[in-house]
């Protein structure tokens, strides 16, 4: 009876002509100068066909410049790119694609409103003028069957989970017949389980000789588990690398940082305190307006850090907005130090509530105003207990100078626009403002997203020392490692509700991962 099924002309996936399996690439003495600034200095690295190569380096070390040179976004000042041993001569990204080089960006480049199938078809170089969806879907299903993982084809992409989107990005590259793939921090939006699944499949494709991969990452765990070789960049120079099996995490970290020492993690001292933040039965609409955020009960005591883990888009942003007063609630009470809290400016000042939202440049700064002005946002109209009408520029400047020095914010002047600062320094400046003076409650969201080791270590130490002096800290983060490092208690948020809680010291990562994915 199976004969009938077999006799039916099965749709078979035929690779595009450009597909030739894994492609090896090599940069030879690649140098890239922007004016007087040397972003890339004589970098030679080799990615052998079928290998999984990790590219490590702090922010600003030149990793993205290197991959942009490979993909043809930039033209290297000097040096060569070899593709399978021949001169690559990549003129632009389109040319790179035609030569089998592909890149998966840190931020998704899928079109949210289009379905997975539409995204795949439109990404082809030869989109037919009239698309016959019946036959296209048949071909796509045949293609999916040949792949180690699959995604729903007819669902709009904005409804897919982050992990599925990332898989689709990789599938898209394979669908297009790419033999060399650059992955730019591919797991930053995934749960640990999803990350393992995606990278595991990518590794299998490498082993099968379908693909070579150059992966930019900050996570050593991923390097050890999936990569076979690595290279390290520091200040535009290639400072080391080799076989992953021959080097340890501390060697890699030392190569990345050179002489710079990260701040010592602040030790956690025993504290016990009264509840500062209490939420009871709080409900609100979520961002789409279709779902609901429902926090049955949440309390944060003085001198503790409560971490809320969860995959982005499960209500953390909305919870932050509820606490900052940006999102109206339909039910429930929020209390700080026992008195009702509606996040007005007067209340937040009286009850000493401070915030460090994610992407502070956009959510906590006026980007074009100066560093000094941005630092003054909490205090510019305060005159002791009263308010003032005329600003006090002298006092503002002194406060800014003091905080900039104290928090080691690197800026050419406190009069430069804050948008000119690097991500880590914006974060430092905002944290300086928010931690200035007495703070009873600090609400933080993704404080270290996109920052390098040194900045991360320092910001975490600041948060920890605030906790040690009795501040109640509510920390929302998509980085589970960060939650586990900082928190006393861990909560997991999934689909708008807190679904799991545990003591951080006794946390079991697989269990937390399952709750994050909503599979428990």
């Amino acid at each position: 009876m199976n004969m009938a099924a077999m006799a039916e002309p099965a749709a078979t996936y035929t690779k595009p002509d450009s597909a030739k399996g894994a492609i090896g690439i090599e940069t030879v003495g690649m140098t890239m100068r922007f004016g007087s600034f040397t972003a890339l200095d004589n970098v030679s690295i080799q990615v052998k066909p079928g290998s999984f190569h990790a590219l490590l380096g702090e922010n600003g070390a030149g990793k993205s410049t290197l991959v942009k040179c490979i993909m043809g976004f930039y033209h290297a000042t000097s040096g060569n790119l070899l593709i399978d041993g021949f001169d690559g001569d990549v003129r632009d990204p389109r040319d790179a694609h035609a030569k089998g080089l592909g890149m998966v960006y840190q931020h998704f480049t899928l079109v949210p409103a289009l379905t997975a199938a539409e995204n795949l078809v439109i990404s082809r170089a030869d989109v037919p003028a009239v698309v016959n969806w019946d036959s296209e879907l048949k071909d796509l299903r045949a293609f999916m069957d040949a792949m180690p993982f699959r995604v729903p084809l007819t669902e709009p992409v904005h409804r897919l989970a982050a992990g599925e989107k990332q898989k689709l990005e990789i599938l898209k590259q394979l669908y297009l017949g790419r033999g060399f793939l650059i992955l730019d921090e591919p797991t930053s939006v995934l749960t640990p389980d999803e990350a393992d699944e995606v990278l595991g499949h990518v590794r299998k494709l490498c082993e099968a000789g379908e693909l070579s991969v150059l992966m930019i990452t900050h996570k050593f765990r991923e390097v050890t588990n999936y990569a076979d070789e690595f290279s390290v960049l520091r200040r535009g120079k290639h400072v080391g690398g080799g076989k992953v099996s021959e080097w340890g995490h501390s060697d890699m970290a030392a190569m990345m940082m050179g002489d710079a020492k990260p701040a010592e993690p602040a030790s956690r001292i025993e504290t016990s305190g009264a509840p500062v933040l209490e939420l009871e039965g709080v409900r609100a609409r979520d961002r789409s307006g279709l779902g609901e955020i429902s926090i049955a009960s949440l309390s944060v005591r003085s001198g503790e850090i409560v971490g809320i883990a969860g995959i982005s888009g499960n209500g953390q942003m909305e919870l932050m907005e509820i606490l900052t007063g940006q999102r109206p609630t339909s039910a429930g009470t929020i209390k700080v130090n026992g008195s009702p809290y509606h996040a007005t400016r007067a209340e937040s000042r009286r009850l000493k509530v401070r915030y460090l939202p994610e992407e502070p440049l956009h959510n906590a700064c006026a980007p074009r105003m100066t560093v000094a002005e941005n630092i003054a946002f909490r205090s510019f109209e305060a005159n002791g207990a009263d308010t003032r009408f005329w600003l006090a520029p002298g006092e503002m400047r002194r406060r800014a100078e003091h905080l900039v020095a104290d928090y080691k914010v690197k800026t050419t002047s406190i009069e430069s626009p804050i948008t000119a600062l690097s991500g880590g320094n914006v974060q430092r400046a905002v944290l300086a403002r928010e931690l200035d003076g007495e703070v009873d409650l600090l609400v933080i969201s993704n404080p270290c997203f996109g920052l390098d080791f040194t900045a991360v270590a320092e910001i975490r130490a600041r948060i920890m020392s605030a906790r040690n002096t009795g501040t109640a800290v509510l920390l929302m983060s998509e980085d589970l490692d960060e939650i586990l490092e900082l928190s006393d208690r861990v909560l997991v948020m999934s689909e708008g509700a807190l679904v799991y809680k545990c003591i951080a010291a006794q946390a079991d990562i697989p269990t937390i991962g399952q709750h994050m994915g909503g599979h428990a």
Binding site: L114, I122, S288, P328
Partner: protein, 307 residues
């Protein structure tokens, strides 16, 4: 039959009115759907509509052919759309501000060039009598449907098909939803948007030609009562779907026909109030479709009003 059908005259007159009045709404909104799907908003369509009405009437009068008038209106509209598209492609130019400027420019130019054409009579566009089966003169009058209306209905279906099943449609949706994704795919968003705006302008021009060449069927300075602007709101109401635009246009057309329909059965109190029905409906639609939290579902993500 003496044609005395009492109050039934009101719904029948509204149906007829809906079909007559909706055509400009239909064309302007279909054009705007395409423009907005590419991520631009063109508020200048009111000016394009009025200029199209003038150009269409003038050319129809000079050549004696209403169809040449329609063609001229479409061309004039495309030029306006092209200007909007090109200007908005310059860095740091806001599409809404340009739209308002072009709206004023379009009406101003139309009044300037249209002065000599207020008196002369141009040929009308042909209508098809779909009411032949009825004896009632009211029904026959209501179902005298203009060719452009039928063309618009077919166009709505065609555009929906195009958005779903053609390369052009997919490209348009990619550009409207994410400039970055479009660039990563090697599409030039600016070019797609310029063409989409030009197409939208052409359709708005045809909508204008309908005004001056069929209903009301003459050129004067008060020819448009804000249809070009209402149609932009209508696109939001229709959730950027060409098929929905067709029904939304009929609804707005019916609201516009309420005043004349009531007048035809002798209701004269609150006459001006009923004429305001489309504007009240516009406000109601915008309020009802607004949302305090969250983005509009189905809105192209590159649209400046939804960002």
């Amino acid at each position: 039959m003496n044609g005395d059908i009492g109050l039934w005259a009101v719904p029948i007159a509204m149906l007829g009115g809906a079909i007559r009045v909706s055509t400009p709404f239909l064309f302007v909104s279909l054009g705007e759907v395409i423009t907005e799907r590419s991520g631009r908003i063109n508020l200048g369509l009111e000016g394009t509509l009025v200029f199209g009405a003038m150009a269409g009437y003038a050319l129809a009068y000079m050549t004696g052919s209403a169809w040449i008038g329609v063609l001229a209106a479409a061309l004039a509209g495309a030029v306006f759309g092209l200007v909007h598209g090109l200007l908005c492609s310059l860095p740091k130019v806001n599409d809404i501000a340009i739209g308002i400027a072009l709206m004023l420019l379009g009406t101003g130019l139309a009044f300037f060039f249209g002065k000599p054409f207020i008196q002369p009579v141009a040929p009308d566009l042909p209508a098809i009598n779909l009411g032949w089966w009825s004896d009632l003169p009211q029904v026959q009058a209501a179902l005298r449907v203009n060719v452009l209306f039928i063309f618009g209905a077919v166009l709505a279906v065609g555009l929906a098909w195009m958005l779903k099943r053609t390369r052009i449609g997919l490209t348009l949706r990619v550009v409207g939803d994410s400039s970055d994704a479009a660039r990563a795919l090697g599409i030039q968003p600016a070019r797609v948007r310029i063409l989409a705006t030009a197409f939208g302008g052409a359709l708005a021009g045809i909508g204008g030609a309908y005004l001056s060449l069929f209903y009301p069927g003459s050129w004067n300075e008060g020819i448009s009562s804000g249809q070009g602007l209402i149609a932009v709101a209508l696109v939001i109401f229709a959730r950027w779907s060409p098929i929905n635009c067709f029904f939304a246009a009929l609804l707005f057309g019916a609201a516009g026909a309420l005043g004349p329909a009531l007048q035809s059965v002798g209701v004269t109190t609150g006459y001006y109030l009923f004429y305001a029905a489309p504007f009240v409906l516009t406000l109601a639609v915008l309020i009802l479709s607004s949302s305090k939290s969250g983005a509009l579902t189905g809105a192209p993500r590159e649209l400046s009003i939804t960002k």
